[in-house]
Symmetry: C2
Subunit: 232 residues, 2 copies
DNA sequence: CGAGATTTTGAGAGCCTTCAAAGGCGGTGG
DNA sequence: CCACCGCCTTTGAAGGCTCTCAAAATCTCG
């Protein structure tokens, strides 16, 4: 979509010099801990979440390879969210000073990062509307579609069928539902012929109906990067 | 908090050269319309919202003077949200090309804009947790506290008492509740001695209890801008 | 193979919605 | 200046969606 210059590529590679493995289930950053490094997620799947005082958890966002995570360190002294690994992951940690150097020398990269911020913002506001205004069934359908689509970006081999990699409890924490009710909604989607399930694998058997149930809008269709400054 | 250089100030002022009045109730940008300009909100209060297929509305965010709005134009060809004026407003429209010039020439401004993005992201994720995991009473309490705090940033004269400027329907659309239930929750907060109301004016009569009911966390307390590059 | 985690199912309760209608308030035109 | 109108607020009653609690079944992993 955008072809980077050699200098730009090199600058990004410098951010990814160091590598750290994060095993499945481990926590990369804990809410309210002193904020430190930011990371590029190199491989695997992570999630960020917050804990409320009553002990309930809200999953805010799932992260996939290529995502820049823990970016709230740019603004806050303490981490605003917990980030943990849903699968074995590899991350590339970097310092804010290195980040500052990149955006100072490469305005177009700065612009591209802002574009990513806006894409994530749109994803968050979409989720806000889903949580605020749609039924349990729609929320579960929406998370299934969203996860499938995001996985497919990285692995175009994924079609109607994919491995979810989440427990029903986690789906509930992402959708604002209880695990029990998530189970009933999955069963209902299955009974109505929209999906089928076997051993953690989900298959979309009627994608159109599922999208309709979920109120789905494809945000990735309408990107427009014509305004970017020249690369250096 | 950060002292801008003369050049930086000048660059920002160039973005604010043009002015446009937006009367109360008017729409600045409609969802799915071709995305165009971005804006700095100079005065007044606006909101952004989305409409779902069933006709229900979710208010995503309230905007106050100084906010940069319609920024999703950076990434998308069509507007992702509707922006409308809750009071008479003045906005300063500017083009993406002008924006690109600013971040190309002023890396520290680019960095500051990213900081603002992260602050807004934290606000959105806080709201996500509120919608997903808290009761109606907590949601209403949370929106009251949030609006008071944001108004107080611009008008330090505001203390425990302020003019809300929203209908109960709008509070409902922001919190994911019906107007009817918002009314009951406001009454309950009043009956429990946390707030009092008279003619659109809300007074916090027990702020501690209200914050507790709302699960309030003060995000503005922990900002950290030590990493910014030098100004030009 | 055993233990713990996860999924599944049932029953009952509660929070919030829906539907309906009355009351209050500001604004506008005569 | 007043009457009327529309929007907003308030209140009641009933219903439904989702939660809580509980327990059994299934799965995963060491």
């Amino acid at each position: 979509m955008v072809v980077l210059t050699a200098n730009e590529r090199q600058a990004l590679e410098r951010l990814e010099e160091r590598k750290r493995a994060v095993p499945r289930g481990a926590t990369l950053q804990r809410e309210n801990d002193r904020a430190g490094e930011m990371y590029i997620l190199r491989s695997g799947m992570m999630m960020s979440s917050v804990l409320l005082v009553d002990g309930s958890r809200q999953i805010l966002r799932f992260h996939f390879a290529g995502d820049m995570i823990a970016v709230s360190s740019l603004a806050y002294r303490e981490a605003t969210e917990t980030i943990s690994a849903l699968t074995d992951c590899v991350v590339c940690p970097f310092e804010r000073s290195g980040f500052a150097a990149v955006i100072a020398e490469h305005p177009r990269l700065a612009a591209l990062i802002m574009v990513c911020n806006q894409i994530e913002r749109a994803a968050l506001t979409d989720r806000l509307a889903v949580l605020g205004r749609t039924s349990a069934k729609a929320r579960v359908a929406a998370i299934l579609i969203d996860l499938r689509n995001r996985m497919r970006v990285l692995d175009p081999g994924i079609g109607r069928s994919f491995v979810l990699g989440l427990t029903q409890e986690e789906i509930g924490d992402a959708t604002g539902l209880t695990a029990v009710h998530v189970n009933r909604m999955l069963r209902q989607l299955e009974d109505e012929g929209m999906i089928s399930r076997e051993a953690g694998r989900v298959t979309f058997t009627d994608e159109r109906a599922l999208e309709q149930a979920a109120n789905f809008v494809d945000r990735y269709a309408g990107l427009d990067l014509g305004w970017l400054p020249a690369g250096r």
